[in-house]
Amino acid sequence: MNITRRELLTLAGGSVLGTLFTPIPWKLLDDSAIWTQNWSRIPALRHGPVSYRLSACPLCPGGCALNVRCVQGRPVSLGAVPEHPVSNGVICATAYAGHHLATHPLRLHQPYAFNGKTGESTLLPMNEADIASRLGGQVRKIAQSPSDGVIAILDQRPGRAISAFYQEFLAGFPGSHYVVAPGADDPTLSALSALCDFKDLVPSYDFENARTILSFGAPLLDGWGTPGRMYAALHNRAQKGRTLIQAEGVHSRTALQADTWLPLMAGTEAAFALAVGHVIIQEGRYPALVARHVRNFPEYAELTRAFAPERVAQVCGLSAEQIIATARAIASGPSIVISGGNPAGGPFDTGTETAIAALNVLSGNVGCSGGVLLRAAVPAPVHAPKPAVSLATIPDHSIKVLILDAAASGNTYPLALLTRKLVRQDAVVVQFSAFLSSQSGAADFILPVPAPFESLEEVQSPAGADRAFFALSSPFMSASDKAVDPVAFLSRVATAAGLAIPQAASTEVLLKQRSEAIFASHRGVVTGPAGTRMQMKDTVSADDVWKALTDGGYWIDDSTRQPASIPSALPAAISAGQQAALSGTPSLPEGTFRLMPFGWRGATMTAAVAPVMSKLFQESNLRALGGRLHINPATAAACGLADGESARITTAAGTLTMPVVVDASVMPGLLHAAVGPVPNKTATATRPESEGILALCSLQDDGSWRFTEASMGKA
């Protein structure tokens, strides 16, 4: 029998059709669905006893309380603690994923040295003893011959018990520097400290009683301070009779929520602040006591005379009426004027910060409810012998050994601020860090410290907090055997150097000493995890305080401390930059723009963010992805750029190509460059990420880098 081609095809077609009426294909589909749910790539969940523990978040200085849910002792979620007096039941997105940091792909599990040049380097595994020995040799040379270079320690979170240890360690070296990282202190309060004599007290903001808050771009509702405190103070403002005025050249998250947004031309903040001062003086809206007791009042009045609102309005992008209304608002009652700094853009230049801070003095709000209040510092066991300095005050090319304490600060700064301070040859930079970060690029040796929640860490009053606060971030995971305790390491270095330098056993010992100092101060109340309250002045033991703190409790000081009078001054002169701002030079030459880096606290690449944060940066556009340039549509059109295209940015420091995001929230002429995480990495990194746009920023003499003149073209 001959089978024709047609019959063969008919049979095949019929078979296929017939198969559809049998269970075979459907069963196959069903089985493959069941198979996929059981294959090896589906994570096996860990079941077991559930427990809850209280702790504090160490990821930034915010001081937020955490409720940690554990299964079989491992944390599976972090949550806020309702009714907590500091964080008010709020934590940030970074904290929600904080327990994933211990297994971050950029986690460092052992000491490393760089093998090769930065940028092309790879990490060479080393052991801690070898690094201590080599560093000990360098340190001994410095002690013998300080003229060849000095030793410095850069502290990203000053005020901790370990900070005092660093200061004690450095006290043994002539010419050494204990350096506070840029952005670690609130810039307005720092500027106020230069204008006012606060003695041993710490200035803070009384947002809860302020009537008007004038913010020069401070991200008050976007991670500044303790987020829970800011939400509590700034939400439902109308009911509280409170007004938030946000002055900045970007319609930021805080500006969107403000009662008044003033689209202030970037670079004219000082002129605007002095114009506000001009109106307050000309209309006599300052307290009589200010004119009588504040130093330099006549000089300041004379200084502001040139800053008439009509004149300043021509350069700052606002109307004279807006300037006058702002001045009247802050002079009408308890008010706060704040610049706040930016996590990646840092503070303004010193002159601008001083002009902004001076408005608090002029309006009589220093030492007054609803303004700037004073509080005591957290008790410390020893008086720090070495005063803190800023990087800007250290001579260039003078540091031979630099130790970077990479505690999570939430902020970042250009590495050039550090590297230009190093001697030209043979400088050694050692970094204590749990993760490979952008700052690791400046290090010769990296020592892995325990990741967040792997060791006891202290959490203190954040900048601007109205009362002294202290808590311990209790560990709920064990640290690696190779994790380094900075205290023990530096003690080992001192031994290797053969120097008689104060030594301590561990960070935990220092923390216990601090807890004892709190007990001995007889100040404040310790609240235990079960809500039990222990008055320090009552009979409790130091062990009780330590136990309460390590179990997730916290200490809060009694109240603010207001001296009868605070010797204050107003600035008597202004910088050339402010003069230039008034004369109209902020309108940059044709074809140039003002570059301003910005970041979101906790996500600025100085520390790792949990991989799941990709939901905000990579899988949606809720947060700006690092390395993107946000520009106004008009700016984009002027440069022939479209959304997604690459722009070439050139400054005096170099050139960089960045993808453009066309964004109408940015003022024309402003290059708003995002500093932050790059798309998620799942492989173990072997070299630090480049610091991106920060490498292009011009560093001012005072260490600021907020604005840089730049040109832009299509790449």
Binding site: A33, L45, Q618, E619, A664, P668, N680
Partner: protein
Amino acid sequence: MEQTEQSKSRYGMVVDLDKCTGCGDCVVACAIENNVAPAEQKATERTGITWLRVYPVTNGEAFPAHDAVFVPMMCQQCGHHTPCVSVCPQNAVEVDPTTGIVGQIPQRCLGCRYCMTACPFHARYFNWWDPEWPAGTEAQLNPDVAPRMRGVAEKCNFCHGRLHAARTRAAAEGKSNIASPAYTPACAESCPAQAIVFGDLADESSDVARLSKAHDTFRFLSKLGTEPKVYYHSAKEWVRKMADQSPAV
């Protein structure tokens, strides 16, 4: 204020867009609660998985007339002719008649993505890659929610794991009802601005029922008649006017 779950609750939300600051707490809290894996290296906005996505939406005006709101967009829990239910060939999407929650059953899903096409809110996501966490993180996943496999669709289910836990707790206490605060999805719990109010729309005395009927409250794409159970509120007229389009588009 106890509610009888068996008496046909209608769980829903009201999101106050004027309060939302776009902080992202809800997005991350949701991902942690529901074991949504971090992005694969090549993942983008189109291929990533965010059960709750917050869209920045602007008024389209030039600077400085520019204005913006942040719109948290999760499954809108359509209550009528639920589009994803009707198109699923595998019955992998079901509406729970006792809660009104639209549930997704990944074990039944074949990955045809009809539901994603049908969803007018673009609130469904597809697992293009194996769910993968960095080594060691898997021990820290929420044991109450099973991770989904590659090749299936997934979406917000109002934290169904929490509903089960609340039911179990209520049963252990000898109750047949779930008291309202005992069951709150992660996004509503985490919102620092308290912009998300969750509760039973069928309970006339609840905050969510009251707010859902408030002035200036609206639903996206209500013209389609799918009766979403997620409401939005804004005093800004330009925001309310955009209700006829999905912010995802």
